[in-house]
Symmetry: C2
Subunit: 291 residues, 2 copies
């Protein structure tokens, strides 16, 4: 049965801009900066929230935000997401606008501005209130595992990406991999000014590509595995989270409880598996010799 997916615009905006900065020798050097754009989200004409984004895929960001905040139960509840940067491109001046239209029969009740708060990350205005309920209800695929060879391949794929980070720095990346078959397959890669937005964009992409975002999956992020990153990954039903960075104590505890295998410090052939090592098929013969 064909699934009815919402119609999305494909709003474009430049991701970097260049200025002349002054270096320590007093020389003017061309320096790239990532964009940071304000995008105000309206659901059925009611203002919901303003997100700050690099702007690569604003429609998927909005979708994933609505998904991860559980404001919308499925992509099928939406008629369309229309993004327009034209008023000032979301830079200082006027925010861009994302207009979300729901199907009346889906009965979506966007929270009043009142509740916008529940939305945030990065240590302020967090989702803590519902944390325990969330954890209790999560079920991750019990059998899913990943081999050390797959982990190395996945990290190697990320390393080869041409990225905004490489050209301008100051952004976080997030990627979705399929672990079907021997070689992990990169399904989707995105960068944004914040790691939460990057992960939300992955969630939005996955809703729009149900055939591809299927089977055994893993999330890669350059950001730290805080409680919220772990919860969002688990909410997507994905039991493997790999980070170039580390983990917080609450991220660890949540991963332990929900059965998610959290792997950090993943660079080159090194890594640390913090939780649920039974999901990782160790192949120490692939690692460099111990120091």
């Amino acid at each position: 049965m064909a699934v009815r997916l919402p119609r999305l615009t494909q709003a474009q905006a430049s991701l970097t801009s260049e200025v002349l900065a002054l270096n320590e020798h007093g020389q003017q050097v061309p320096t790239a900066m990532p964009a940071e754009r304000a995008l105000t989200v309206y659901v059925d004409k009611r203002e919901l929230v303003t997100l700050m984004t690099l702007g690569p895929h604003p429609e998927w960001l909005v979708l994933g935000f609505l998904r991860n905040q559980r404001i919308v139960p499925s992509a099928q509840a939406l008629d369309s997401v229309t993004v327009d940067w034209s008023l000032g491109e979301g830079l200082v001046g006027e925010p861009g606008v994302a207009a979300v239209k729901t199907w009346a029969e889906a009965g979506v009740q966007p929270p009043p501005r009142a509740e916008r708060v529940v939305t945030t990350g990065c240590g302020q205005g967090s989702v803590f209130g519902q944390l325990m309920d969330d954890i209790a209800g999560m079920a991750l695929p019990a059998q899913q595992r990943m081999s050390q060879a797959q982990l190395y391949s996945l990290v190697g794929t990320i390393r080869l990406k041409e990225t905004t980070y490489k050209s301008a720095g100051s952004v976080h990346a997030c990627a979705l991999f399929s672990l079907e078959g021997d070689e992990p397959r990169l399904l989707f890669f995105v960068e944004d000014v914040g790691r939460h937005n990057a992960l939300d964009t992955v969630a939005g992409w996955a809703w729009m590509h149900p055939q591809q975002a299927h089977g055994p999956l893993a999330i890669y992020t350059t950001g730290r595995l805080t409680s919220e990153m772990v919860i969002k990954t688990a909410q997507m039903g994905i039991p493997l989270a790999i980070s170039r960075s580390g983990i917080t104590q609450m991220g660890y505890q949540v991963a332990q409880q929900v059965g998610l295998c959290a792997i950090g410090r993943a660079t080159n052939r090194r890594f640390l598996c913090y939780t649920h090592p039974e999901r990782l098929i160790l192949q120490p013969e692939l690692a460099s010799p111990p120091p």
Copy 2:
């Protein structure tokens, strides 16, 4: 005239914990993780927001949060900030509690839960709505400058700090320096799970130490200079922001507009001055020779 400052508790909590992680050789290695604690803030018994924090100085974090969100006009409006971690230490289970008591005559009107949203950072639920108004009203000390020698000294001071970051990673640091005299003086240093919380804690410390947080000041942060970091620095009346990381386009634009000198990529003897170089006294003879 003596200034009446609020009474604060000094709630203590451990900042790191250790677990055994599995490395690429299949070896179990003791690994430190930073704490990540939930702290629910009540103003005059009304719930305001839940912050996620490492927990080094929860009282100053709460103060600085109330300051930077402009919920409270001055420290003198508050009778006390009482933090209690005892119910579960703010880890998974029960959040810690911060009870803020205002003086009735100060007429503080904490926003309803409704407005909690305005509080956040990291790209979601941002302060954008008031951005333009904020910028228009800001006045930074016109004459304040910093020499390249002072910048190097400041970065060197940070490098020598014993930090949670060095032991456990995954946190951001923020520091307040006095630029009175030749050698910058480190007034306050703090780390937290998010760069916004670290900067808010600096703002709270500064409110409690008006004699010290006085004269020419500079902010150092390990985090990126996004619009919100720049706005918060400028709101504190500080015209110099130095980052180990880079800047976003909106951070750049805001810094330009408010007259703030934003310096990024500051490590060892290197840096990039993005905006208002007239505040930086260049001494290229102190830099390593150009490549």
